[in-house]
Subunit: 152 residues, 2 copies
């Protein structure tokens, strides 16, 4: 049932990211997969990820959107080339810019769902739009421009 | 020598934020002070705060800018009212929107300096512009719109 996530295909040398590196033991280790045309990450904030009591820290939300979007960009590039993820040459993206609009407070105590959609692929830059949902309610929206740094 | 930081004046009930709450033992506990017209935070990323090896995680940078800016907003509101920080009624801001432009990779292994400037005070919304510096080189720029949530 546990299908591989985008981040599972990152080579070891780029798998230490605090947000999404499977080799970062202190990190968030987010995992993102396609669900149709959307990319989806599910993440349950830890008790310390609080802002004002009862609500999720906005910096955590920014972090989730960041890594969700760079992962989506890598997966989108594989899709565009009609290749299986993980085949060589691989793709890895970093964040050129990040925009987050906080629509309402995000409650603690539930699993968050981040849903992304590729807005534009322009050469080595991919724009990803994201929504954060808490129990089905959108609490934040993001837009990331991801820049490709490697193709190996 | 250790002058109080903006965050030292947050009341206990709003001092648990992962980014800036002095009562959050797992958090970043950033501290921000005025240096003339600029607000300044200095922070040394922990080893786990890595992105690709050798560079600072972009989500951490977003988190630093987030809390730096809401703290600056609170301090700016006191300044505007010509009041000493910590006097009642107090001010606390949350982030309405966050924009980060990553100019170049931010190196690990040094203390980062975040410098902020109040761009606009419009009623209960304050816009703060920020720059992240690593050994004097600007590596990221941010803009936060902070919204006042309390005045008590």
């Amino acid at each position: 049932m546990d299908t591989p996530a985008f981040q599972d295909f990152y080579p070891d040398k780029s798998a230490h990211c605090y947000g999404c590196g499977r080799l970062n033991e202190q990190g968030l280790r987010i995992r993102t997969r396609w669900e149709g045309e959307e990319s989806v990450t599910r993440f349950r904030p830890r008790p310390e990820h609080t802002a004002l009591p009862g609500f999720v820290y906005g910096g955590l939300i920014a972090s989730l959107l960041d890594c969700h979007s760079t992962g989506t960009a890598a997966a989108a590039m594989y899709r565009q080339e009609d290749r299986v993820m993980g085949t060589e040459p691989g793709f890895r993206f970093v964040t050129a810019s990040l925009q987050v609009d906080y629509l309402r407070p995000t409650p603690m105590g539930c699993e968050l769902e981040i849903r992304g959609r590729v807005l534009e692929i322009s050469g080595r830059r991919i724009t990803v739009e994201t929504t954060v949902l808490a129990e089905g309610v959108a609490t934040a929206r993001g837009r990331v421009v991801a820049a490709q740094i490697t193709s190996s």
